[in-house]
Point group: C2
Chain length 146, copies 2
DNA sequence: CCGATTCTTGACAACTCCTATAAGCAAGGA
DNA sequence: TCCTTGCTTATAGGAGTTGTCAAGAATCGG
């Protein structure tokens, strides 16, 4: 399974939401505009994230989305798995020979690759990324001042 | 970029070729039949592997393919990169905000994921996999004898 | 209650990529 | 010359991704 644009959009949107965390909901339109993400596409993604228990939503005037889980408890892996499914590079259902001949040595390689990928993605959480993004932007500002 | 069926077919085919290494070329039809891979599809894959310098080919009667590089010098990463391209989960050309706003914190995550994946795939070579497959099959045979 | 705002949902269309097939050509050996 | 085998290109079907459209439901302020 691939890491698609869905996950990339969603992570960026969640970072934006984490940075705007003013204790009141943020309309999805604001996030879409600020991060240049197709609005109605992002609606689908946030809907999935809400069903998965990561976000809260409130309808009506001054409604919007807010975090249900703490941003530091939401990893990139969570987002990817919700939107793109399992990150396994190979669901080992390739051919008949993989089914009948007991064991396939290559399967272990794909399994290792999966574990390794999961480890990296699980280590990155939204709160950290939001902080790091701000730090990066401040570095750039300083460069201009000097 | 995803790890597609192409790479999986190719790795299995290379393992088969390594196991049949009788110093003379092996016809691609034999490999396709033994590993249950569509013949004309495998032809395309082996053609790419030949151009990449991994295989040698000989046409005509008693022709076929043989390794140009040693099987132990061919990693799974080599095969995947030849057939599927870069294993990067994200070519960071997503949206305008990634281009204009200097640096994107998420990009580091995708970069880490890529390195990690490359490490795992580079550690696995065809010769090892061929040996391990044979060992696995012998284990199964022993189980039946007991 | 009314209307504006915002999320909710389902359908669907355009597009790209993957997988596989077809057909004909090239080369080498008997 | 003929058969075997690899080589190349074109193409088609299918699946998945990406994005859009449209109607609807909930909530809030007035």
């Amino acid at each position: 399974m691939n890491i698609s644009a869905k996950s990339k959009y969603a992570v960026r949107a969640l970072i934006e939401l984490a940075q705007q965390n003013n204790s009141h909901p943020v309309p999805i339109g604001d996030i879409a505009a600020k991060r240049d993400i197709p609005l109605q596409f992002l609606e689908q993604l946030f809907s999935s994230l809400r069903k998965a228990g990561i976000l809260n939503s409130h309808r009506g005037v001054r409604g919007g989305f807010s975090f249900k889980k703490l941003p530091e408890d939401v990893s990139v892996l969570d987002v990817v798995e919700i939107l793109d499914g399992d990150v396994a590079p190979a669901t080992c259902t390739i051919g008949a020979s993989c089914d009948k001949s007991s064991r396939c040595a290559v399967r272990d390689v794909w399994a290792d690759a999966k574990s390794s990928l999961e480890g990296v993605l699980a280590a990155a959480n939204i709160a950290d990324l939001a902080d790091r993004e701000i730090m990066m932007q401040e570095e750039v500002k300083e460069m201009y001042y000097i």
